[in-house]
Amino acid sequence: MATGSLQEWQRYDRRTRIGRYLMILASLIILAISWVSLELDFGYLLSAPANLADLFVRMYPPDWGYTTTIVDPMIQTINIAIVGTIVAVIIAFPVAFLSAKNTTPNKATYVLGKFIISFSRSVNGIIWGLITVIMFGPGALAGMVAVGLRAIGFVAKLLGEEIEEIATGSVEGVRATGAGTFLVFLYGIFPQIKPALVGISIYRWDINVRISTVIGFVGAGGIGVHLFEAIETFAWRTVLLILIAILGVVIVSEALSAYLRAKVR
């Protein structure tokens, strides 16, 4: 720094500071516009905690008698997640190879792979649910397909990235022995992506459990159907019971998923 500014100390230089102020200013303006356009009542927001507390009072104690009724739908929820994951992995597997730069046959297949991935990922699970319920009618089948469709992009994207990272030398080594294309894949490529495939599938299953708990709101089976019904009929104590059950299942599947993924590394 120049000798003239000995007395001063600034944390950032001028341009950075101005940039920061502008960013903060822009955020505030956007925020103000959002606030105004939503026509939010400030007093109403302040009373939110009280309203919520009131609701929880009505929920307590949970309706334990309802437990036996929700065992079946809870199992169905997990089933939807499992089948949805299996379907997704089976479809995502070839898509991943299309979307990986080093295994895709040509430019067109690469674009196709990427397109399938972003298409599947940009439509939310519940919206897939709206569509599959129209296709298959209400029930678990619609849920499985919706969960699966949503997961294809996720699995294919992560797996494709894994394929792009494989050691090409190993593939070259197997090719040099005179192995055919499929055996090169089986010995040179597949062992390298297998742990990732298992890990990604388990991880996605865990996410799918969460989606499966709500897919019933649009009629696609699982515990969501019962939760929706309980809420619509203001059976708040039942609602609390279902919420506890959902929390339990989600937390257990997350822990299980983390444990299994740690094992396959």
Binding site: S27, S37, I127, A140
Partner: protein, 266 residues
């Protein structure tokens, strides 16, 4: 002598081969059982696929009347506005939760309490939170903003707390050594280390909030979700596909903005 061996079998990751085969057979039977219990028949599945193709036919080309289009744009705007407001509100609430959930900064009981709150927020899907909030606060954007804010806690506080746990203790000790109070230690020894990451998390969460803001309307919590549900209910499939495309566009723009901002900050 090893050289006389005629056979070799690959060591299995399972306890032994019997366990391995039992596991595989069990898995197949299990999935078969699942499918049979849900009453999924190939015929029904096939019918659904055929109907799906028909449905796609009814969805193209995406079209909307002028009134529909205006309504769609208005509600998309509402979704985006909700996501912005909820991100700010959510992060403001999340900051204390984050600090109180960092194992190295607070006593154990406080840590566990805050971790539990975070876990509840993370485990409940935004639609579940939304449907309950709709009952508590009525239909509309208030429930939506609060839903997204609540979900922000679970994400933002968790990752922020993990960052706090990873900070360089040396810098904290340096401030403590100068005789600074606990608050001083946090303000000068901790905050500067985590600010860039906090901004990055916020921007990333905003991106997620945009996605969520497009669906919570399905249960009445404001935004474009309300419109898409209505479109499907009224069999306006061409309008529905228009809205879907618009949602995808908004989500992608949000993702791009978020990615660029994060690259610049972090």
């Amino acid at each position: 002598m090893a050289a006389d061996q005629q056979t070799w079998r690959r060591p299995t990751a399972f306890y032994n081969r019997t366990v391995k085969w039992l596991f595989y057979i069990g898995s197949v039977l299990f999935v078969g059982l699942l499918l049979s219990r849900t009453g999924v028949s190939p015929g029904r599945f096939w019918q659904g696929i055929l109907f799906g193709i028909d449905l796609v036919g009814q969805m193209v080309p995406p079209t909307a009347t002028e009134t529909q289009f205006n309504r769609m744009m208005e509600m998309l705007g509402e979704s985006v506005a909700m996501s912005m407001l909820a991100t700010v509100l959510g992060v403001l609430i999340s900051i204390p939760f984050g600090f109180l959930a960092a194992e190295n900064l607070v006593p154990k009981p406080v840590y566990y309490l805050n971790r539990s709150i975070i876990m509840v927020s993370r485990s409940l899907h935004s639609l579940i939170v939304a449907i309950i909030f709709v009952k508590a606060f009525g239909l509309g954007v208030v429930a939506g903003v609060l839903t997204l804010s609540f979900k922000t806690i679970g994400y933002w506080s968790k990752l922020f707390a993990e960052d706090l746990e990873d900070i360089d203790r040396g810098q904290m000790e340096a401030i403590e050594a100068t005789g600074g109070s606990r608050l001083h230690t946090i303000v000068y020894g901790v905050v500067p280390q985590v600010i860039p990451r906090a901004i990055g998390l916020t921007v990333y969460r905003w991106d997620i909030n945009i996605r969520q803001s497009t669906i919570i309307g399905i249960v009445g919590a404001g935004g474009i979700g309300t419109v898409i549900l209505a479109a499907f209910d009224k069999y306006q499939y061409q309008y529905a596909s228009t809205i879907l495309l618009a949602i995808v566009a908004v989500v992608m723009v949000g993702e791009a903005i978020s990615a660029i901002t994060r690259r610049r900050v972090e």
